[in-house]
Subunit: 257 residues, 2 copies
């Protein structure tokens, strides 16, 4: 049990959606508009003191979220979870919204307790880009071969050292991650790449996808992607795809969290 | 056949999509960013002279379009329709896109030849607004009763004098329009109002929908809407709903156009 003075602090888990377009990513940085800064500003107005929030993971500049998860400790014990959500939303700008608040055990930590993260990347293929989609997908004129894409994407599944697909800024000691799902599917006008893993390195999804798209275009095989993955050299990876197509969809915890 | 000097002018019909968020509507106005101005700017760059475009109808400030239709006359006879589309798009900003160009008979006029216009209005009902939808729908916390909405919306079908639902700026002489379809349906997370008519008065869709939503909330009957429609007084109509939920979906012409 965590206390401030005599007061028990309540651990609040919140699900957050944001439009990443006008944010320099999740994490607080001086002189940049970030999602964490906006949420902590809102919490400061409610608590009249600084509250630090923990997220399941950082998202990069321009990346969106439909299901980012955060937690923080609050001494406000008089309002229920729903009212808490509404109070935070009242102080948030329109491009960030708290979808849900839940009071959880003190042991819950949005980052350390996370079991699985799910990202989706939206590609729009057409003769022309569409104005209303322009901030939420990557436009490609050519329709790739989804069977070939899936053949390639399946190579990623399993436990691998993903150093090849980590951007230079990645600070994780271990580059080993377990990818439980990696596939492409169609939803309405979008070709979507969905990847699920216990964790991701810096820009890993965008680097994997950029590489898969290049290999598909060159009509190369799953074997070629395997070689790149095990080569140990980032020079062998393809170009990263733009941030605007990427959404943090969902984070999974233990059943009781 | 229309000529400039010795040259035959080609009549081009184009389908246009735009994100209305940052536009003061369709029609050219001094000191305002409008869709017509952007398109005419692009055409001026291609033709090195002023080209006036005709649209199926004006859309109001903030209203979107997926299928606005325009036409204009061009002396460029060397490039095919597809290249023409790409050339215009090259000079357009990201929030306007020409989806298709077709060379049509000289008699085609995007406004006068239009047989039917279709508008859709997107309502998002949830406990909280969603950041990525905020510019493209109207958020309502309460889920209205779709059966009641449809009972009300059907009253609008047929030929009526719609003076009651025309904003004060409307300059049409006759306020009589024929509404061929008016109904609500669900698509994914959206409640959509779809209305089809031979023409619309200024702000007519937003005024009809605002009135229907108010009557539904008050649990009033189709008879009450009939009374408002025939009352002749704009004071009886409800508040207009915001522009951001409204899309010009499609314009119908004769089969051969």
């Amino acid at each position: 049990v965590i206390n401030v003075g005599d007061k028990h602090l309540r651990n609040i888990k919140a699900i957050v959606a944001y439009d990443g377009t006008d944010f320099s990513g999740w994490q607080i940085q001086t002189n940049h508009r970030t999602v964490q800064k906006e949420i902590q500003n809102a919490l400061r107005k409610i608590h009249e003191r600084e509250i630090t929030v923990t997220a399941s993971g950082r998202t990069d500049s321009g990346v969106h979220a439909k299901g980012q998860v955060i937690n923080f400790f609050s001494d406000k014990d008089k309002i229920n979870d729903e009212k808490f959500r509404d109070a935070i939303n009242y102080f948030l700008p329109q491009d960030v919204t708290i979808l849900k608040c839940t009071t959880v055990p003190d042991s819950f930590n949005a980052r350390r307790s996370a079991k699985k993260r799910v990202y989706q990347y939206y590609i729009y293929t057409s003769a022309y880009p569409f104005p209303h989609y322009r901030k939420y997908c990557y436009f490609k004129r050519r329709q790739p071969d989804i069977r070939k894409l899936n053949e390639l994407s399946h190579v990623i599944i399993g436990e691998h050292d993903f150093s090849v697909f980590a951007a230079s800024g990645d600070t994780n000691k271990s580059k080993v991650r377990y990818v439980s799902s990696s596939h492409f599917y169609i939803n309405g006008p979008f070709l979507i790449y969905r990847i699920e893993a216990n964790g991701f390195l810096y820009r890993m999804v965008r680097s994997i996808l950029g590489t898969i798209l290049e290999l598909e275009q060159q009509n190369r095989q799953g074997e070629d992607l395997k070689k790149i993955l095990t080569s140990g050299s980032r020079d062998n990876a393809g170009q990263t795809v733009p941030a605007r197509g990427l959404f943090l969809e969902k984070v999974y915890y233990q059943d009781n969290e």
